[in-house]
Amino acid sequence: MLGPLAGVPMAVKDNMCTTFGATTCGSRILESFRSRYDAHVIERLESAGAVVIGKTNLDEFAMGSSTENSAYFTTLNPWDTTRVAGGSSGGSCAAVAAKIVPAALGSDTGGSIRQPAAFCGVVGLKPSYGRVSRFGLVAFGSSLDQIGPIATDVRDVALVLSVIAGHDERDSTSVDRPVPDYLARLDRLVKGIRIGISEEYFGEGLDREVREAVQAAIDLMAGEGAEVVPIHLPHMKYGIACYYLVATAEASSNLARFDGVRYGYRTPRPSDILDLYESSRGEGFGPEVKRRIMLGTYALSSGYYDAYYLKALKVRTLIKNDFETAFERVDVIASPVTPTTAFGVGEKSSDPLAMYLSDIYTISANLAGICAISVPCGFDSQGLPIGLQLMGPAFGEEHLLAIAHQYQLRTDWHACVPPLGSAVSRR
């Protein structure tokens, strides 16, 4: 019998281990590394009949929002090649947008699926934490990382999710609960659902055209019978600060294994073991990775742990509680994915903080462990895609996908094709 993805060519982000090809994580330090095993999601895709045709570019170790931090290439935006594809799953989103593959896998630690999906005009889902096994995903922020599907429409995203979701005993954080039939439930109507709107997502820094497109999407659903409910997420404003402590602390520890001793890059002539460590890592890691390792190491150091890491964990709990409270009253929360559309190549690469702020609307979902999806909802005046973010409660993918699907049944933004090499633009 043919699997649900029989013959479907797919691409996967190059931070998922594959026994074929390389697994570089966009880093020099893993240039020569070959994995001895396949990630759980690779096994799942292949047993469903998918053909993984290649690995896609990313910011080094998934650290970045533009795919400019790759040690190998910069991935460009298919809608405008002077602009970034977003990141860190920029390669996977660009590949889907450019119609190289119908679907791809990305990973999302603070928005790394949704932000590039919005920039590239495709659909990207960050599943709830624990929904998809992380076994074989090279860890960045272990308590935040989640693998998710990217495709041109919600139906394909739902199909891929149904293949990769589910318990895996090799990942203790993967949750043992049944996987619903996501495809079967897509036809659930928008009428009567409650959409939460929080002013925290519409504040200063949000581009006017993005705001209008997102508002139009919300209006459309309201017109279909959805109820729009104002909600408040008081701790969301601490999201970025909290995230850059938790994620970097975990990263500093997760990346300690790349030391030149057992695999990966080793400096040619180390003078002693300390030099082997320092030079291998110094030469193997790029600047953003080093910056985050240093930040995280600092946050975990004795004397600073309570003030930074422990405090961040407490804030994280507050953010999680905010969402839990909100989801008692609403089915989904609607917001922009990003404050702006795709920015220019090089525009933010010398300003890390500005780069970090491009994830301001996506980060909280990772901290809270909930599911969130990015769907195309328009274009700005320069012809760049705009993304609508819909967030659902933990393990609420079934409902979230249905609502996003119903939105897409009433719009055709996702059907637009970038003008790469042809005169075809918007339909």
Binding site: T23, A139, A256, R257, Y263, I273
Partner: protein, 495 residues
């Protein structure tokens, strides 16, 4: 300062690492095998490959809790795993998964027999962690790394500094080894590094009404009981001498340090100071979920708790009337203790069974280098032998002979005794004749038995031996003894 006014007291706290004998490692499915070729028991998880994730070994956790219970500890209902970060080539992830602020067991105690008294040593905590691999430095100009051991489950037990001498530490370590092997959670083999000891030692010196304390020295990685005793003895002397030489050699003034034990020279050697405490940057491991211990799980583990060696030793002495020494020998190995009780349950008198196990069966087993349970003689036949010894069918000497023959022959002890002519002769006349013969042939001994108080006892013993020999081992020693006394008494009164 004059030496007359100086008294010293050694203060020792122990950190003990016990490797649990689980089939697989702490966080992956690799076997733990000491003899395996280097790097043959490894997988992406214990090699620290990218993307690999740990999964807790439930058996290791249950055994750790069991050991915590045996150490009278409070068992935590909620614990978690923490990462302890440091870079070293034998540590594949460059962090060790351990338990930092929530150990699975804490606030216990362990009692050991020191001399005639009982010493109670408080247990501060016990926690689980993964072992590191081994760096092999003796291979020319490079260091090789063997990661077979990386990820093996280790139980770290930390005592309070209640131990007051090298001897106490020595006894404590032996008794702890006895405990973990008794529980079946570890083989406890020193040569395989399955138990490693790190004593923290300092000395309280009392001089002219004041007390001084020397800096605390941690002696790293001792792997024999002897080394524990010698290193602590040496260290106490060294620290006292250092204080004599320089009164500033005191806790808080001079930094604590780590020292290693050089067994060849019999000295401890400086490794590193502790003034700059290593920052291990502990934080909860996000790859593992916290452990919740349910009532059911606690009850299940408690049900696995066997009687502990000390308690069993006491019970054996009291319930069965065994000597303390015999009870200790029987409890040395759990299998022996359990065999003893099975033989007794077979209806044989406990005292005789105890003597035969200690003096006959264990000796036969030791001579052959096998466990007493592997001698090929089951509890039923052992009980039979004890019975015919107890009811006077055979005497002790004959029973010993029969036991050895039982190793190669399957007949019942009674049959063997008859076949070999070892059935004890109760006949008064024959026994009297053997006594007469012994007395006639050994006049000097008879004289000593009657007149030389210093040699009296030995002489009587000698006469008994000679008479037994004359009987061909068949005489009833009790009757023999009675008749010898009777004869001596008659000689004394001149009748």
């Amino acid at each position: 300062m004059s030496d007359q006014t100086l008294t010293t007291r050694t203060i020792v706290g122990l950190e003990i690492h016990v490797q649990l004998q689980t089939k697989t490692k702490m966080f992956c499915g690799c076997p733990v095998r000491f003899e395996a070729p280097p790097n043959s028991c490894v997988c992406p998880v214990c090699l620290g490959h990218p993307g690999a994730l740990p999964v807790m070994n439930g058996q290791a956790y249950r055994w750790a809790v069991l050991t915590g219970m045996a150490l009278n500890c409070a068992i935590a209902r909620h614990t978690k795993w923490d990462r302890k970060s440091y870079f070293y080539p034998d540590l594949p992830k460059n962090y060790q998964i351990s338990q930092y602020d929530l150990p699975l067991a804490s606030d216990g105690y362990f009692e050991v027999q020191v001399g005639a008294g009982t010493k109670r040593v408080r247990i501060r905590r016990a926690h689980l962690e993964e072992d590191a691999g081994k760096n092999l430095h003796d291979t020319g100009n490079c260091t090789l790394v063997d990661l077979n051991r990386a990820g093996a489950p280790l139980l770290e037990i930390v005592t309070e500094p209640d131990i007051e001498s090298a001897e106490e530490a020595y006894v404590f370590c032996i008794e702890l080894q006895r405990l973990v092997t008794h529980l079946g959670v570890s083989e406890g083999v020193m040569q395989k590094g399955q138990m490693r000891f790190e004593p923290n030692v300092n000395v309280a010196i009392e001089s002219q009404g004041r007390e001084y304390r020397t800096p605390i020295v941690e002696i790293k990685n001792l792997n024999s009981f002897r080394a524990v005793r010698q290193a602590i003895e040496y260290e106490a002397q060294r620290q006292t001498a250092a204080w004599r030489e320089n009164a500033d050699y005191q806790l808080g003034t001079v930094p604590n340090e780590n020292r290693g034990w050089n067994a060849d020279k019999g000295v401890t050697e400086f490794q590193r100071g502790k003034e700059a405490a290593h920052d291990y940057r502990y934080f909860p491991d996000p790859d593992l979920v916290p452990v919740e211990v349910s009532d059911v799980m606690l009850e299940e583990i408690r049900a696995m708790l066997p009687e502990l060696p000390i308690a069993r030793r006491r019970r054996f002495a009291e319930q069965y009337g065994l000597s303390v020494k015999d009870a200790e020998t029987l409890v040395e190995h759990r299998a022996t203790a359990e065999l003893f009780e099975r033989v007794v349950a077979g209806g044989a008198p406990a005292e005789v069974v105890g003597k035969q196990l200690v003096n006959v069966w264990l000796k036969l087993a030791n001579d052959r280098g096998v466990a007493v349970t592997d001698l090929g003689v089951d509890e039923t036949r052992m009980a039979e032998l004890a019975k015919i010894a107890a009811d006077g069918t055979v005497n002790k000497t004959a029973a010993n002979q029969i036991a050895e023959i039982m190793l190669s022959r399957g007949e019942s002890p009674r049959q063997l005794a008859e076949e070999l002519g070892l059935v004890q002769v109760q006949d008064m006349d024959s026994t009297r004749r053997w006594v007469e013969e012994a007395f006639t042939a050994n006049e000097n001994a008879v004289r000593d038995a009657l007149q030389n108080p210093k040699k009296m006892q030995a002489a009587v013993g000698f006469l008994r031996g000679q008479a037994m020999k004359g009987s061909g081992g068949k005489a009833d020693p009790k009757l023999l003894g009675e008749l010898i006394e009777e004869r001596l008494a008659r000689l004394r009164t001149g009748s």
